[in-house]
Amino acid sequence: MKILTANRLGDGIAVWYADGGWAETVDQADPAHDKAAEDRLEAIGARAFAANEVVDVNLIDAEVVDRVVEPVRLREKIRAAGPTIRGDLGKQAERAA
């Protein structure tokens, strides 16, 4: 399964495409289970990039764990949570708050 991620243009914050917009957390990202869905996400990403909403758009591997979307690769897990050495920063901190 794939999900669409990028960084928001104005502040650079990592975002994921979910429910018709760009969410600040990965949990509910729109999944693509087949090639057609991946193409659809990619087209959305390309449009958002062209519209200067986001930069560094990527389709990444993800899985669903306990009904929550999680990226597969460590790099993307860290993007989704924040630095592993600073639990007080990034998404993980916002979630805890």
Partner: protein, 556 residues
């Protein structure tokens, strides 16, 4: 220290205005990311994993208290309360919004700072010995020449689109603390038999995926010829350096592929065309720049010896810090202090906003308003009276920056790694923290003695692992982090590239492996004075391989 003249002020202000306009046009969608990316990189703005990152230049690592206070202010107002000091003696902030960067640059300009040429294929921040101007062993302060190089290289029209980035370092001492042989150009300022100043010139050093030790192409270049000779080197590189492959584009590859004799011939031939023209530095100009770096008026403070002696008796912590983090100054009543940004278990090179402000206060009160950033990611007070050392120590204790580990195993260079960096393949900071905690005992660290451990989270080697006595390179293998160990690297006057010792280690195994290496060294050194690097050079890798892997061979 150097003060901006009218030209510098106008130049930096003009750049702030220009880049602010570019940011506004990007945010409004007037220019595309493809158009904007090279512009932002020219101004030190990267996009990392979590956010943008802004790298700010600290020319030759020299700061005053006002500037450090401003960095603290930026950390607090625009970032998340901290900054990261880098191996190029710069500082980077990990979380700025693009929309805030014009305001940050305006704040920086107000204290004569900027982020120009901290990225891109141009001549980067020129680095220098962090004890410059204070060291007892230097021929002269290298920073005036670093400043001359800064002025020459800033938006140099001919050298703004090089095949790849270009790094220059200058040292003024035989004992190289600026790692000049790992640079594209390394300059060793020295005096000839006649007492004249000049440079030994090295080219083609570098780390990254193809580490190389620089080659000396000239033993003595008169100081007046600094710019004409560097221009000749850059011209040869700009003309012949490879542009077909990013990974083969540094001058080290050109030197390697051309051969040092031939490239020396090319540089010398180019220089013949340039040496007696307008790039020759007038004596008066060199001395005028030098005047900016005039040392502070160091009045005699003979009370220092007695004060230090008494304070030693009073405080074990002070005594240990004195032994480890305080070095001899050219003036006997003074010393240079290393403020360790490597507290046990801390993130190497990170400092909080309030720590920056407090260190600025200490520098203003006790250190003639002068600070340095070292390429080993620490802060330095280059000139302090020995009589004030105890007060400085106490002030550092109050802010958690009195760790007495300079040059010991927990004084680790580490890149940001996969916790922040978009290029990284593995984390480096948590490994540094775990090793630091494992070797937390100062007694044990001091028994081990000088040991430079350096960690990079990818092959680009920002953490200088190739030249660590012990180097650790984090890579990704089958979806997991794997740490490869190199031994025998060194970044001083006897620069060497470390050798890979064997198969890599998982994140769970790596600290044990480092401990095995250290214990092996302790077991084979001839006496406690034989440093790790000297012992390694004497015995080679075999005993370390045996200790790390012999069990496996038997098991297999």
């Amino acid at each position: 220290m150097y003060r901006y003249d009218e030209f510098d002020h106008d130049f930096v202000q003009a750049r702030v205005a220009e880049f602010s306009d570019q940011v506004q046009r990007r945010l409004s969608g007037e220019i595309t990311e493809d158009q904007f990316r090279p512009l932002r990189l020219m101004n030190g703005v990267y996009l990392q994993l979590h956010a943008y990152m802004l790298r700010i230049a600290v020319p030759y690592g020299t700061l005053n208290s006002k500037q450090l206070r401003m960095l603290g202010h930026i950390a607090r107002k625009y970032d998340k309360g901290y900054g990261h000091f880098t191996t190029r003696q710069n500082i980077q902030f990990n979380w700025p919004a693009l929309s805030d960067i014009p305001a940050i640059l305006a704040d920086l300009a107000s204290v004569e700072m900027h982020a120009i040429q901290t990225s891109g294929n141009c001549i980067r921040n020129v680095t220098a010995d962090h004890f410059a101007g204070a060291a007892a062993d230097e021929a002269a302060d290298p920073r005036p020449y670093a400043e001359i190089l800064r002025q020459w290289s800033s938006v140099h029209p001919e050298f703004s689109f090089l095949p790849r980035k270009f790094k220059i370092a200058v040292t003024g001492a035989e004992r190289d603390r600026a790692a000049i042989q790992t640079h594209d150009i390394g300059l060793h300022l020295k005096k000839n038999a006649a007492g004249e100043l000049g440079f030994a010139v090295y080219i083609g050093g570098g780390q990254g995926r193809t580490p190389m030790v620089a080659r000396k192409i000239r033993d003595f270049l008169p100081e007046a010829d600094l710019l004409s000779y560097c221009t000749a080197i850059l011209r040869v590189y700009n003309l012949y350096g490879r542009r077909d492959n990013k990974y083969k584009a540094r001058i080290k590859i050109l030197v390697h592929e051309t051969g040092v004799e031939e490239i020396t011939r090319q540089v010398e031939a180019e220089w013949q065309e340039l040496k007696d023209a307008e790039l020759k530095l007038p004596e008066a100009d060199i001395r005028a720049i030098e005047a900016y770096f005039a040392p502070p008026a160091l009045v005699d403070r003979p009370d220092g010896d007695e004060a230090v002696k008494l304070a030693r008796l009073d405080s074990k912590g002070f005594s240990e810090w004195l032994d480890q983090n305080v070095v001899t100054h050219r003036h006997p009543d003074y010393a240079a202090v290393t403020i360790s940004l490597k507290g046990i278990g801390d993130v190497p090179g990170d400092a909080s906003d309030s720590q920056m402000e407090a260190v600025a206060d200490i520098a203003e009160k006790y250190a003639f308003d002068e600070l340095r950033v070292s390429h080993e990611q620490n802060l330095i007070l280059p000139h302090v009276a020995r009589a004030d050392l105890k007060a400085i120590y106490d002030a550092l204790v109050d802010i958690g920056l009195a760790t007495a580990n300079s040059n010991l195993i927990s004084d680790i260079i580490s890149c940001p790694g996969l916790d922040y960096c978009a290029l990284a393949t593995a984390r480096s900071i948590p490994i540094a923290q775990e090793i630091s905690r494992r070797f937390a005992s100062l007694e044990r660290q001091r028994e081990i003695g000088e040991l430079k451990l350096k960690i990079s989270g990818c092959i680009n080697a920002c953490g200088h692992h190739h030249v660590g006595h012990i180097g650790i390179l984090g890579v990704e293998k089958k979806g997991s982090e794997l740490y490869q160990v190199t031994l025998g690297g060194s970044a001083d006057e006897n620069t060497s590239v470390g050798e890979i010792i064997g198969r890599g280690f998982s994140s769970e195994e790596i600290t044990d492996a480092i401990e095995t290496i250290v214990d092996t060294y302790l077991g084979l050194r001839t006496d406690p004075q034989e440093k790790f690097i000297d012992a390694y050079r004497r015995v080679g890798p075999a005993p370390f391989k045996e200790a790390l892997y012999a069990g496996e061979a038997k098991a297999a």
